[in-house]
């Protein structure tokens, strides 16, 4: 695979992403929140 070009600035703004694995962080936060709700650390959340 070719070396990665750092071309963030050349791409449209909509293409700019965080320099982290967003998927794993999202899953980690979701499971943590689910556990906190399940064990009543966080109570009723309304919207």
């Amino acid at each position: 695979m070719a070396p990665h070009n750092d071309n963030r600035s050349a791409l449209p703004r909509g293409a700019h992403r965080l320099p982290i694995n967003v998927d794993l962080i999202a899953v980690g936060i979701a499971l943590t929140l689910a556990a906190l709700i399940r064990f009543n650390v966080i109570h009723q959340i309304s919207f």
Binding site: R8, L11, G14, A15, V27
Partner: protein, 364 residues
Amino acid sequence: MSTQTIQMPAAARTRSAPRVVLGLIPGVALLFGIGLLGKVIEHVLTILRREHHLLFPQIDYVLWAIVLGLLISNTVGVARIFHSGVATYELWLKLGIVLVGARFLLQDVLHIGGISLVLVAVELVLSLSVMTMLGRIFRLPPKLTSLLAIGSSICGVTAIMAAQGAIEPEEEDTSTAIAAILTLGAIALVTFPAIGHSLHMTQHAYGMWAGLAVDNTAESVVTGALYGDEAGRFAILAKTARSSFIGFVVLAYAVYWASQGKAAVVQHKGLFLWQKFPKFILGFIAISVLATAGFFTHSQLSSLSNLSRWAFLPAFAGVGLRTNLRDLVGQGWRPLVVGILGEIFIAIITLGMVYWSYAEGVAR
């Protein structure tokens, strides 16, 4: 490189973690501020309509958040200090999607997800073929055609970014393909709900259609949510099924371009598939399994569902904020025409498939 990451710029690599986190705060505050303002406007207009009988249209906070974001992005612009924080919209979007898993029983996920997988497989073959044919007719560079085909058939910008490392296109091709896909996503936000209403589509059928036809995950979720809460949920489910194909399609293109001697050979195909697979789908299924197994009480499920709505709030604002119309024009008319023609084809084909699956009772 996984599908969800791009390497940090040199300046960012040298910054310490606390400084990176601090740098996110202004943009995150802007995302939540716009989302909350959207909710406030919706609430105020509802009160004015109910209490004072004023003739304001019923406009959901989803649309307000997008419109406010679009207005800022295309008038005063988004200052550099907000950029890294605004990019977190993707994190909020995926957090919302994982949490929405609490609102699906596993049997629904398997049933609707299974139907979606079949429909996606048909859509993939047709859309990749048509986009490739259109690219040839309009004499686009072959790798730009590949990027447009990948982006429009799977999941938009994420798929293009994943393909970028695998098929090694010109930087200009990547930029053009992304601009075309973002433009088409912005068009879908306006056209899909109007078409859905004119055809009197049910929430489920419309959601499936939005998930199958709109490219970018963010635009797909928003296009569904603009039609209604149920439509938003079903758009997420169909879109998730579609996104799961990303590795296979990118791998196929990588193997093709390597066989032409114009890209590196993929050494470990299994590892490649795993790297490209969107991991948030596993979180969505995990939460759905827990909900189905009775791990949560009814009120806890309600809390998880509301948490997902809170997570979507900044994501909707981010869709507006990152859409800069100046970025989207001036990329040349031919890629956009190819994209528009291809998207019209995909929209019609998927609409037909969704109608068929509901008319035949395959989906319910």
